[in-house]
Symmetry: C2
Subunit: 285 residues, 2 copies
Amino acid sequence: VPTVDLPLTTSAEPLLAATTTEVRDPHRNGGFDPQPGVARLTHAEQARTLVHGHGGAMLSTVARKPEGFPFGSLVTYLADDQGNPWLLISAMAEHTANALADQRASVLVAATPPADTDPLASGRVTLIGTLHQTDPTNDLRAEFLTRHPGARSYVDFPDFMWWTLRVESVRYVGGFGRMSWVDAGEYATSLPDPIAPAAHGICAHMNADHADAHPVLLNFFLRRTDIVSAHMTGVDRLGCDLDAKTATASYPLRLPFRNPANDATDVRNELVAMLNQARLSETQT
Amino acid sequence: VPTVDLPLTTSAEPLLAATTTEVRDPHRNGGFDPQPGVARLTHAEQARTLVHGHGGAMLSTVARKPEGFPFGSLVTYLADDQGNPWLLISAMAEHTANALADQRASVLVAATPPADTDPLASGRVTLIGTLHQTDPTNDLRAEFLTRHPGARSYVDFPDFMWWTLRVESVRYVGGFGRMSWVDAGEYATSLPDPIAPAAHGICAHMNADHADAHPVLLNFFLRRTDIVSAHMTGVDRLGCDLDAKTATASYPLRLPFRNPANDATDVRNELVAMLNQARLSETQT
């Protein structure tokens, strides 16, 4: 379980992030951020989270044919502890021949967008660096074959080779207007969000069984009175993202936790405690 | 509706493809093709079908930063009648700045793999060419916004620009070992498979309600006696793909139609007629 370095607090105040690389979105709210300083994962953490989610990935190499053109191809990969992707690729594939002639490459990892949403609204990260043909540790090899069981049928073919991309630059795009270059050192030392594997289930459960809690939480902790309903779209160790509705408008809001969560149980306990606090306050006013 | 140029036949013989670019898979059956000459879409047709399915797409450009590295990014696109993809991208995005400095690019389109399957077993195509900033026809613009409704919210922002990739080279990969360079002229003039939009539903229906027909069809039309069951994995205008089982083994088989299909109704009628033929033969022997 990754450690959490943010100071814990037991106050009613939601967390303020110590650092955030969030940039303003000129396409939304005229560039105005309605929740400045609210606790969010850094872009380095979001990039590591995406990469460790092992979604679909594209390798870009420098083509031999037609020479010098950027060549995109489909790959599977496993990220190591520093977020460097490892690939198991065949000498018969174009990208391998390209890499043998020119090491420069990038790996694009894109989140699987929710059904019927604009894929460009979901996160993706481009890892740029140089490809090196080298064998992984036994542990990494075993983990790769667990993650990609189809690879067991060809891992021992003589034309298959292990490569790793040594990441030198990281471009993160969280959606429209939320993008930045992430420092490669910060990328290497950041941790994937521990809530990510449970996030989809938490959102589905909250929306199905506890949607009535969403406006109560948002109105109390964001000091509003106008939210009438909300749909949870994401959750991480620092808070939840919701699509909120007033009587006349609809927009995304962030509900930061009071304390960072280390796992799904922490999220549950924090949401229950926050809801009790909000409802207690309601009955006292 | 695309036209079908293959000669129609009313004989009991399944179609033999006039041309096919299928290559042997050295990783499967020792490179031995158990069904040589069986009617399949050409790789050009498969590439056009994939591109017109508008799955997830990744653009590769030549990076300004770090200079000269191949840079992968997520895009949505619409293909025109020649299979050239059109993009609506922001001047603020890295790929646009890259394209303004160097036109060389590729667009990778990958089929959405069936759940719990190796994504590398599904088809993908890399379209390589040069990017040109130019406005689409009104029809193409309208079709783009229908296909990508999220784009309506930013199509009129001043930083968004239309680009098209003029395809010069095409690399098709149908799965392990099924790959080739497709002639760019053949790509431009080939037609997307007309069955593709209905294929998933046809397979689901056949597997749920008519799986008992699969071994009857395979044994009769492929002149076998050993198939005990089969699961339909794909269908196109020239035939069906099935994962077939004998008492001791399991492998993919192709069931070519006697006549090419133009739509889902043709597929239904052809399968019913073929099944009647096979069952009539059973009762006569």
